[in-house]
């Protein structure tokens, strides 16, 4: 379980002081898929960085299974794929296991994953040879191979074209159904958030977190996107988001 208790964070750069987050409360249960949405600049990425341990809250605590979070506790996938151009695909994926000095143990697992995500034969290729969608899959596998039961995904499909994005969503769901990890997912795409998540959290500019439970059964198919229940939740979310912009 992940808990943010009364968390505040202020960004300081010399004289400039910018309070990004104030008094955030958030609880995420084991195995849950939670999306975080909100307009730009509300601090969604900051929340992920606080959970990853990259930033420290000025006030309040971030707990992972009742212990304060520290670096290396969760898997973090930033916005850009950030593949290391001088490493082969396999070595990119094995990077987290290299850091933890278990590279040899995990190599078989990594090769199996490459097979599962349709990247067979690419293990010795270099990132420059891969398309955007493939690179994103590699970056995701790298996060997965951290072996952590919490994955933080910061707009993983933001830069992909619509068609590739759909493929990747289906792909992510199938993997998540297999591994049952806790996922916190940032996106600007409401449809994506609703389709993937158990819960959607809407972060308002005043730091209120509005919660939506997404009741649809799993496994979900894309037909869901055209059902009345789905579109009505989507409309409601859209209205609330638009309200923030005015």
């Amino acid at each position: 379980m992940l808990e943010l208790k009364d968390v505040s964070y202020t960004f300081k750069d010399g004289q400039k002081v910018n309070p990004v987050l104030q008094n955030i409360h958030l609880t995420i249960h084991r195995g849950e898929f939670v999306s975080l949405i909100g307009k730009s600049g509300t601090g969604k990425s900051t929340i992920l960085k606080l959970i990853a341990g990259l930033l420290h809250a000025d006030q309040g605590t971030v707990l992972h299974d009742d212990k304060p979070i520290k670096l290396g506790d969760v898997g973090y996938m930033p916005q850009h794929d950030l593949l290391f151009s001088w490493r082969t695909i396999l070595d990119n994926i094995l990077l987290p296991t290299e850091i933890k000095k278990q590279k040899k143990i995990k190599k078989q697992e990594a090769l199996q994953w490459l097979q599962k995500v349709g990247l067979v034969g690419y293990e010795k290729a270099y990132p420059k040879e891969l398309s955007g969608g493939m690179r994103q899959r590699v970056a995701f596998l790298r996060t997965l191979l951290t072996g952590k039961n919490v994955l933080l995904l910061d707009e993983p499909f933001g830069a992909l074209d619509a068609l590739t994005k759909k493929e990747m969503q289906a792909w992510l769901l199938s993997i998540w159904q297999e591994t049952k990890q806790t996922v916190i997912f940032i996106t600007h795409d409401l449809e994506e958030a609703l389709y993937l998540s158990d819960r959607v959290m809407l972060l308002h500019p005043n730091d209120d977190l509005e919660e939506y439970t997404i009741p649809f059964e799993r496994p979900r198919s894309r037909d869901l996107l055209y059902q009345q229940d789905f579109t009505s939740i989507r409309k409601k979310l859209e209205d609330h988001l638009r309200h923030d912009e005015n």
Binding site: K49, G53, P78, F84, S85, W86
Partner: protein, 254 residues
């Protein structure tokens, strides 16, 4: 076939111009417009090289290359150590960086009597000049390369629980390589210049010494023979370094 074509496309124009220039020089000197002790005809330079080929290559070039080799390796080792130390410690950076900079503002020629005083007329006075000239681009290049890291990559590694040393090895070092190689290419050419200057200041062997002796004898063809070999050596060293760079960095995004 493709290689030849792309070679011609890259260098064809230069080669044609160079050939025309050399032919024009030959004609001008032969016609008596310029005395050959001012500018020798290309054919005279060629003859001067051929006549003394074995001593030029196996005595003088060999000596110059020894100085270049030792000076360059010292530059790389010490330059990289300094750059890494500056990268890890702000205090060291604040002390070393100004010293490195000042070392480049002192005219080498002014320092040379001191080098001769310290090292005598041994190879080490020449190595010292070579080092002084070549280590600067290496320190600056390595340091800038190490610092040029993208903070997002550093955050990614930190989120995996990497130590500062792991981040250095797995990210900063590889990330610094392109800039580092640019500095190596500069440094290897500078090293050759340094060795030549060092020989001018006092030596008994080497292409710098040879060209100085020839100029003392008003033998312009001999001077140009040494310069030609030096210049070709510089080009070859540069190309070798570029090939190593290409080989090591071949997988990077262009």
């Amino acid at each position: 076939m493709m290689k030849i074509k792309s070679f011609i496309r890259s260098y064809g124009l230069f080669i044609i111009c160079a050939v025309i220039f050399l032919m024009a020089m030959e004609a001008i000197v032969n016609a008596g417009f310029v005395p050959s002790y001012i500018i020798p005809a290309p054919s005279q330079v060629y003859n001067a090289i051929i006549e003394n080929l074995s001593s030029l290559i196996f005595v003088h070039l060999k000596m110059t290359m020894m100085e270049v080799g030792i000076g360059f390796i010292l530059s790389v080792v010490i330059g990289v150590i300094l750059a890494v130390a500056m990268f890890f410690s702000r205090t060291i950076e604040k002390i070393i960086y100004p010293i490195v900079l000042i070392s480049q503002t002192i005219p080498t020629i002014a320092l040379s009597p001191i080098f001769v005083l310290w090292f005598g007329y041994t190879i080490w006075s020449k190595v010292a000049v070579t080092f002084l000239i070549a280590f600067f681009p290496i320190v600056v290049g390595s340091y800038d390369g190490l610092r040029s890291g993208n903070p997002e990559y550093i955050d990614l590694l930190r989120s995996m629980g990497a130590t500062k040393w792991q981040i250095f090895i797995k990210y900063h070092v590889s990330n610094a390589l392109p800039v580092f190689f640019s500095s190596l290419k500069l440094a290897i050419v500078y090293a050759l210049i340094g060795a030549t200057i060092g020989e001018w200041l006092g030596a008994s062997e080497g292409l710098g010494y040879y060209s100085r002796r020839m100029s003392g004898q008003l033998n312009a063809a001999g001077v140009f023979a040494a310069i030609t070999i030096l210049s070709m050596t510089g080009i070859i060293l540069f190309i070798v370094m570029s090939l190593i760079e290409k080989r090591l960095l071949r997988n990077r995004r262009s």
